[in-house]
């Protein structure tokens, strides 16, 4: 694949197409296919999720200029690519979203012959349930969803989801994430279930738990729980570990814990979306990221766990022994990745979430 051949999914929107062509009465020029990929790459990534010099280093090494565009959450990434790829070469979805995209043929298989650095990865990460044989993706960074809190404002040790879900002591000082999947999953963990449970009776229990606990919740935050915590608006928040780590660096009074009931352990992956204009460059980029030096540089900046065994060897003790990045083994044993559970479950959970918010 060398030329620019975007594959926009042609679906049953025949009315639309017919009328559209009629209404326009215009024919658009076909793009010239280029014999060689231009030295460019469009990378669709999260904000503050790359090393300080990573992109510049890549350009120095290969001459390929990387343009990084940012998305705010997985839903946005999915919505943007659902109808067709407007020109992205590499994307960074989280595991369950990636699984959905694989099932919808929204990402293309990788050519592992072009990814020699894959061997640097920790063997645990060289295969994945959501992408068997790592045909479509390589791991980028991983982390957990737990409880961030202000040490001086809580009593005793925080080690259970209870503080967020049913502890009246902290009424009005709690922020939960505004993401149905994460909140429902965490509540399931608190109830001793798998966070991928699809049992409607269990979901009903979760709904009751969340509605009963609502009186204590100040806000369902949009991934800015760390700011609410830092500014003193709340004292406990459900958040991603890296976000809390960033504020921990500035404020000693803030801490992070993965509850003993277990939590979601997520993995952001690099993949090539279907219709990517420059797949060669994309492979080169993905391979570059798996270079130990490069990955270490990224991990140093963003403070999330790296799946790269060789890169880990380059990291300092502070990083390797940080329990907020690498939780104790017994807690990790209770954590699990979220799976893509199908559209029906997504709908069921969305309805639950709507009822919780409207209650």
């Amino acid at each position: 694949m060398t030329g620019y051949t975007p594959k926009f999914s042609r679906k049953r929107r025949s009315i639309l197409q017919g009328l559209g062509a009629l209404g326009l009465g215009l024919t658009f020029l076909p793009r010239n296919s280029l014999s060689e990929e231009e030295k460019k790459l469009n990378f669709y990534n999260w904000d503050t999720y790359i090393g300080e010099t990573t992109l510049a280093d890549f350009e120095k090494a290969t001459g390929i200029e990387v343009k990084m565009d940012l998305f705010a959450d997985n839903d946005e990434l999915f919505a943007k690519l659902k109808a067709g790829n407007p020109g992205y070469d590499v994307i960074c979805p989280t595991n369950d979203n990636l699984e959905r995209m694989i099932k919808a043929n929204m990402v293309t298989p990788l050519d592992h012959a072009k990814l020699p650095n894959f061997k640097n990865l920790d063997p645990v990460f060289q295969d994945a349930a959501f992408d068997p044989g790592r045909k479509h993706s390589v791991p980028y960074l991983w982390g957990t969803v737990g409880v961030g809190f202000r040490k001086s404002k809580v009593e005793g040790t925080v080690d259970s989801w209870k503080v967020l879900f049913e502890d009246d002591k902290y009424a009005g000082r709690i922020a939960l994430l505004g993401d149905a999947k994460v909140v429902i999953g965490s509540a399931l963990k608190y109830l001793g279930q798998s966070l991928n449970s699809t049992d409607p009776a269990m979901l009903k229990k979760v709904e009751e738990l969340l509605i009963a606990g609502k009186k204590n919740v100040k806000v369902y935050a949009d991934d800015n729980g760390q700011d609410l915590l830092a500014s003193g608006d709340v004292d406990l928040t459900m958040e991603y570990n890296g976000d809390i780590l960033q504020v921990m660096a500035e404020d000693d009074d803030i801490s992070y814990v993965v509850p003993t009931e277990g939590a979601e352990m997520w993995q952001d992956c690099l993949a090539i979306p279907t219709g990517a204009p420059r797949p060669e460059n994309a492979h080169a980029f993905i391979n570059f990221i798996m270079d130990p030096e490069v990955e270490a540089g990224i991990a140093k900046t963003v403070q999330y766990g790296t799946p790269n065994a060789e890169a880990k060897k380059l990291m300092d003790k502070a990083y390797l022994e940080n329990p907020a990045i690498f939780p104790p083994a017994e807690v990790v044993a209770k954590c699990e990745p979220a799976l893509y559970l199908g559209e029906d479950v997504t709908k069921m959970r969305d309805e639950t979430w709507t009822r919780v918010q409207a209650a």
Binding site: R12, G20, A79, A104, G178, V219, E343, T354
Partner: protein, 284 residues
């Protein structure tokens, strides 16, 4: 009003551009989603047109009706506040010395050229529990008050987002308001208050109605403001719709909700236009 046959050249000149744009870049694209609202999801990315009404039926579930009702009253209160604040602003601008007008108008609009999110975060910085307002109130021994993350905050946020939609139409009608009417009323012994309610207000009614439409309707569909300023209870119908097109990935239901919202507003607007065209005199 002329009949359209009276001057065909002018009629078609005025008719064509807007109609073309609306048809090609709005109605035709929308037809796809309209079709979706009667469709079933058959896979992650595909829907199949089945003529089903299930999506509309689902929208009549109590939980969605509750949310719609809540959205309506929050939008109504926000619109009322907008009107109460915008009328004096527009009035003040129109009666200000001519050389000040453009500057005043710009000063009113300028805050709204700052990105919505940045503006909302600035609001949060002012009003949050350890924000500036509470800091100032603290100096005089009051507070701290919890001003964010409730319905009041959402209303305040909406006012702060949609104010120009009220100010501008009001400005357009109050400016060039025929002042001889006001003078006549005052000369004939009407008080300022009487003049305002009996003369000024009716004469500026078209602007008021336009402003109400332009504020109320977008408020109804807004989702960022309730998302950021609302508390645990602050969900509005806009949030539900947004989720259908993102997290829930349910275009048919999202479309059905959107179109329901549209049928209602469209009906109200068409009724207004119908009655206006029947009433003689001032055609609103």
């Amino acid at each position: 009003m002329d009949s359209w046959r009276g001057n065909l050249r002018v009629f078609w000149t005025l008719f064509t551009p807007g109609t073309f744009w609306l048809l090609v870049f709005f109605l035709i694209p929308l037809a796809g989603l309209f079709q979706d609202s009667f469709s079933d999801k058959i896979s992650i990315t595909e829907t199949a047109f089945t003529g089903t009404f299930a999506n509309y039926v689902r929208a009549f579930d109590t939980v969605y009706l509750t949310i719609i009702w809540k959205s309506i009253w929050i939008s109504a209160v926000a619109t009322a506040f907008c009107l109460l604040l915008a009328y004096p602003i527009a009035f003040g601008i129109c009666f200000a010395p001519a050389r000040w007008k453009p500057l005043l108008l710009l000063l009113v609009i300028l805050p709204f050229w700052i990105n919505l999110l940045i503006r909302t975060y600035a609001l949060i910085a002012v009003f949050r529990s350890q924000g500036y307002l509470n800091l100032v109130l603290g100096w005089i021994g009051l507070g701290p008050f919890e001003m964010l993350y409730n319905n009041g905050a959402v209303i305040m946020g909406l006012v702060y987002v949609y104010m120009p939609f009220m100010v501008l139409p009001l400005y357009a009608t109050i400016e060039r308001l025929d002042r001889s009417f006001l003078e006549a009323s005052l000369d004939l012994g009407g008080s300022q208050v009487q003049t305002f309610f009996k003369v000024t207000l009716p004469l500026t009614m078209p602007g008021i109605i336009t402003g109400i439409i332009l504020v109320f309707i977008p408020c109804l569909g807004s989702f960022l403001t309730p998302d950021m300023l609302g508390g645990a209870n602050a969900i509005m119908i806009g949030n539900v719709i947004e989720r259908q097109f993102k997290a829930a990935n349910d275009y048919p239901f999202g479309s059905a909700l959107s179109f329901l919202l549209m049928y209602v507003t469209f009906g109200a607007l068409a009724l207004r236009a119908y009655f206006a065209s029947r009433s003689k005199g001032v055609d609103v």
